[in-house]
């Protein structure tokens, strides 16, 4: 299972970007591979991407206002759609054209609305928009869990847990799967749970409402013991443990625990460093913007750079993108918060050479209706949930830039051309990360479980 890496390679890597992190990981791995669930493992086949950054616009961004232009809505403004409506969570009324302007961007001429003008302006030719996404249910909790865990209600591991189970972590001073959110999205921890997989694969949640690095990680620092004393504690501990180990040399768990203390000691610095955006040069920070979204995405880049496999950045507490009313103003505000930081992140990934190996995924748990929502029978100038058709955007790690895949009907209600179910998206993400979704399995309760259950089609057309 362990990756064969020679000492020479280790030293070579130590001299380059990976530095001591790689070394620490490899040394520990040599000693205790079986006991460490996060030891790096190769994927099943050469991967297009090594990391995922999921910019999760939780609440459900409207596709017809962002990535899926539907001029036909204008013709029916205020009127019923000719083919009628689909059932969604709440009563809806007439067609509601987008208040936002769409325009063609880049050489590819990908049409995107003004809400994401910064991202599109700089990176349109790197974006792959899937316009034919579909889920099962027009409800947040179920769709959040479906998007994250491949099942609406049952206790299944999240895709981040599956990937960490499959790949381990390149950097063992940091968790393999990190979740950033200012607050807590709907369905809470179930979004990044490990369920029946070992607990080490569960996403490590970091509340980005807290600002300083030390606040962000539990037990990352000791307030009662200076680092000099702690070093001496550790040395004494190692001495005692080595002596204890002498008579019990066959038990790898003892060595694993000895190593884990050394790792933890380094992690105190390493982990807090990773979350400390003040270490970034000013211009970089300015490009992301000194806001929660900017800080989150910048932390995401710092984590990925350090070998973290999956970073999810939720837009906010509960479900910010849930614009049932007043969509014009709400969507403009929300996109305004995240468009600049996304553009900066993509720039930054390209600058640091991480773009090619990082899959960036942007989207929500579902989309919104092209028809107006009715509140007490009257138009509320917002849109209801829509799982029948919506868009997600991919970039980086092995996807075809400047493309739109699939399509919704002429009003943007239902995915009709090349529909991509959430299971298919999962199969594709696993594929890009080097896994056959049917073979990344875990035996539990008499069955080999997988992320896509009995579903999943790899969307090969979007793979570069």
């Amino acid at each position: 299972m362990s990756m064969p890496i020679s000492r020479r390679e280790v030293l070579a890597r130590a001299g380059t970007g990976l530095g001591l992190l790689g070394l620490a990981g490899v040394l520990a791995q040599a000693a205790d591979a079986p006991a460490d669930p996060l030891a790096p493992k190769p994927p099943q086949f050469p991967a297009k991407a090594k990391h995922v950054i999921h910019i999760y616009l939780n609440g459900g961004p409207s596709q017809v206002d962002t990535f899926d232009p539907k001029p036909a809505l204008k013709m029916f403004e205020g009127k019923a759609l000719p083919k009628g409506k689909l059932t969604t969570e709440r009563p809806t009324g007439a067609a509601l054209p987008s208040p936002f302007r769409f325009q063609r961007f880049g050489k590819s001429g990908l049409e995107i609305s003004e809400l994401f003008a910064k991202t599109a302006g700089a990176h349109a030719d790197d974006l792959c928009v899937i316009r034919s996404m579909k889920a099962n249910t027009p409800n947040h909790e179920q769709s959040m869990r479906l998007m994250n865990c491949g099942d609406e209600r049952l206790s299944r591991p999240s895709y981040g847990a599956w990937l960490t189970y499959g790949l381990g972590s390149e950097n063992r001073n940091l968790p393999g799967f990190v979740v950033l959110c200012p607050g807590m999205p709907v369905a809470d921890v179930s979004n990044w749970r490990s369920a029946f997989l070992p607990g080490a694969y569960q996403g490590t949640y970091v509340d980005t409402r807290k600002k300083t690095a030390a606040e962000l990680i539990e037990n990352a620092r000791n307030s009662g013991i200076g680092s000099g004393d702690q070093r001496r504690q550790l040395d004494a501990l190692t001495t005692l443990n080595r002596k204890h180990q002498k008579l019990r040399g066959d038990n790898p768990a003892l060595e694993a625990r000895i190593q884990s203390f050394e790792l933890a000691f380094r992690m105190q610095t390493e982990a807090t460093d990773a979350f400390d955006v003040t270490r970034e040069p000013k211009p970089i920070r300015a490009a992301y913007g000194e806001t929660v979204q900017g800080r989150q995405l910048l932390i995401a880049r710092r984590l990925v750079e350090r070998g973290v496999r999956v970073v999810q950045c939720y837009h906010g507490d509960v479900q910010p993108w849930d614009s049932h009313t007043n969509l014009d103003k709400e969507h403009r505000r929300l996109a305004g918060e995240v468009d600049g930081p996304i553009a900066a992140l993509l720039n930054d990934l390209k600058r640091t050479g991480l773009f090619a190996e990082t899959l960036v995924l942007i989207g929500g748990e579902f989309g919104r209706t092209p028809v107006v929502e009715l509140a007490n029978g009257k138009p509320a100038m917002g849109r209801d949930h829509n799982h029948w058709g919506f868009s997600v955007v991919l970039a980086g790690g092995g996807v075809k830039g400047g493309t739109a895949y699939g399509a919704t009907d002429e009003f943007g209600f239902r995915a009709v051309e090349n529909p991509v179910h959430v299971h298919d998206l999962h199969a594709t993400v696993l594929y890009l990360m080097g896994f056959d979704h049917e073979k990344l399995t875990y035996r539990y309760s008499g069955r080999d479980f997988r992320l896509t259950d009995v579903e999943g089609r790899i969307v090969k057309d979007i793979v570069a």
Binding site: I225, D229, F261, S445
Partner: protein, 919 residues
Amino acid sequence: MILQLLRIAAITLLGFAAFSQSVPAADPPQVSEAVAYFENNVRPLLAEKCYSCHGTSKQKGGLRLDSVAGIQTGGDSGPVVVPGKPDESRLVLAVRYSDANLKMPPKGKLSAGQIAAVADWVKAGAVLPRNDIASKSQSAKNHWAFQTIRNPAPPSVRSASWVRTPVDAFVLDQLEARGLAPSPPADKRTLLRRLSFDLTGLPPTWSEVAAFTADESSDAYERAVDRLLASPRYGERWGRHWLDVARYADTKDGVLMFGDDRPRPFAYTYRDYVIRAFNSDLPYDRFISEQLAADKLGGSPDRLAAMGFLTLGRMFDNNIPDVIDDRIDVVTRGFLGLTTACARCHDHKYDPIPTRDYYALYGVFAASEAPLVPPRLDPKQRGPKAYEAKYAAAENSLTEMLEQQYALLSENARARTPDYLLHVTVTPPDPMETAIFFLSLAPGDLRPPIVARWRNYLAARAKPNDPIFGPWHELMAIPEADFPKKATAALVRMATAAGPFPYNPLIFDPLLAAGVRSKADMARAYGGVFARVYAESKVFVGPPDALHRQVLDVVTGRDSPAYFPKSRTYWYMSRGEKDAFGGKIQDLDHIAVKEPAAPARALCLYDALEMPVNRVFVRGNSSRPGAIVPRRFLTILGGKDSAPFTHGSGRLDLARAIVDPNNPLTARVIANRVWMHHFGEPLVDTPSDFGVRTSRPVQSELLDHLASTLRSGGWSLKKLQREIVLSNTYRQASADRPDAHRLDPENRLLWRANPRRLDFESMRDAMLAVSGRLDPAMFGRPVDVAGDPLNRRRTIYGIVDRQNLPTVYRAFDFASPDLSAERRTQTTVPQQALFGLNSQFVAEQAKALAARPEVAGTADPAAKVFALYVLVLQRMPTAEEVRLGVAFAQAARDPKSKLGPWEQWAQVLLLTNEFLFLD
């Protein structure tokens, strides 16, 4: 070798073919070998690689490979298997990828070994079981775990003097057979530490170790065993093991509309019940029965708390089929080691559990309901007056709302029969109306489940000659475009047909008179009759005549689509009422959770007032009811004609079937769990899955001995454990022995004790114990052990918030409370070390240790080191260790440290592997 066997089998089979009609005898052994080859090597492969396109859901090319008949018949292009001729069998050609147009499975070639398995099987005659069910239960009947538990006689062994309890004879027999000797006994300190942690989850004290070490009497160990088994700490340890199986948590999961606050204020009553059950050595059969059916067993009312086992699972957004699935899962994996939940949508792929069996159990839980307000454990106990008044008011408000909503909504369901009829006539089925149970409904909206039931109802009733819906059937056959021309003519034909008139004139006459010109007209005409007859029934006094009764039944009968039981009212409420109702339940929980003196209540189940008709859900889809199945036990255990349960919901019958002496699983499964917690490794690797894919354990005789001991000992777990821990097997040292290690690296033969690591609870509790701060208080409401570093209670009393399990629990491999856990994973991650190095909890214990009089009371550094070793590790330090400790404490300290040198040293000892691992 296998090939040879198969050939023999094939020849034999040919020979037997002539008799097969007239001699329904069991398959000859060679045939069953061949069938076993198919079952073990070919069928799993087909299941994994082929069923998705050639199974129940899809039959690409007209081919089904998931049944014997399908394999024999082949697909659109003819047979796929020619017995004996792999090169002519399309199945083999396909998997070989030799023909460019025929490559299967399309997603990737099978491995060479897999291809060979298919080819070998065909070559040897492509022997198939006679038919699936028979074969499954046939091969299942031979499965070791389904065999009756015999009480095997302890084998005679050469080194008979080593045998202290029968356990030793079984173990030694296996060791001797392989030329191995057992390990010498562990030293007394090691043994007492092992025993104390195993039985109580806590270390022995220094004085206990000292006394035990000094005690030369022959029964010293036995007395220690009895003392620890009698300790109240025992139930806190073994109860926790059971809570893993029971997926215990103190909160619900994210329930729609219930906001973020999800306490289950009385969940702890189940935890306390479990602790008491273990401490009092409640016989395991009784323990099972109370958890399933305490309401039926009599005895004191506090026993009702036992049923938390069923009710404390996740809420699954209030989707009842998922809640029931969770109950089936916890019962069958927990007690029986069977993964019955696999049979929810299709027959179990491996085990002999047909979908019918799943729904036979489903019916038991569908016929059981949690009362809206949980009953008091002690009916006489009252809390503070103000609290009781507040609770009663909230309870009334909730009950009133239920009554009012039920009256309103069931009246609506009936009175709006015309609307439902029209709707289902003019609209196609919408998946949302059946798959979604939580759409936001406005008061005027039709109720999706009622719409779905109308569709099913009409599909079942609209048949020729049905007195009510016969005409409906005839008219629906007319294309919409022809309706104006043909409908009335059709009705006239029906009216004038020869023979007795089969239709109810109350329906037929208005329909004929209406001159219907469309299907919608027809639905309206029907609706008009139902509305009128229903309205009249409310004002007329006296019973209706037979014709009226027939019409009225469609609207008000038990089988009417409009019917739903009161307990399901929530699922029919409009969004506003649903939120309000959820809010009232939450209010009740909040009132209770805020009052520390709130009298305990039991999260129990009762039988439903009206027993629902129990049906299979086709492919697990609750809106596709299929065949009726009685509530009964699993066929493989209860026999082919497993008798329907007769006591209400059948929970008590289910409990009896589980503890029945002929049930081969129950005793084996619990004996294996008990063994696992004493040895660190179970005898059967998958403690909650004893199905056919679980191979017979090396120590199967031992397992059967333990299971028989348990049953013959009146299901006393303590007696069983006593035999286990008194054995020489248990008392062995854990030191490695290269000779034995080479032969049996995993220690399956038990040539030594397994070294083990303390789990989270034992680690935390042990830290509290050695620092002298452990609060021995038992039972009661959960406390915050993860968030409050000053909390001194045992970890089992910590709140388990299923949706927000604290990081520290996860880091230390605490079992997920969302699913029944068969065993915990064991990982080593730096977050564990960070907790040790930096958490305030560990710092608190270190400080308390250094402040203990044994340490603080002396100024002599060596004496301090000595005292700390004795307290933390229950042994004296070596001279070298004393030097090390003294040197550590005397070295210059970091000015930033708030912890003193001895506190720091105490922490080091708490973090040692010696503290965390048991030899």
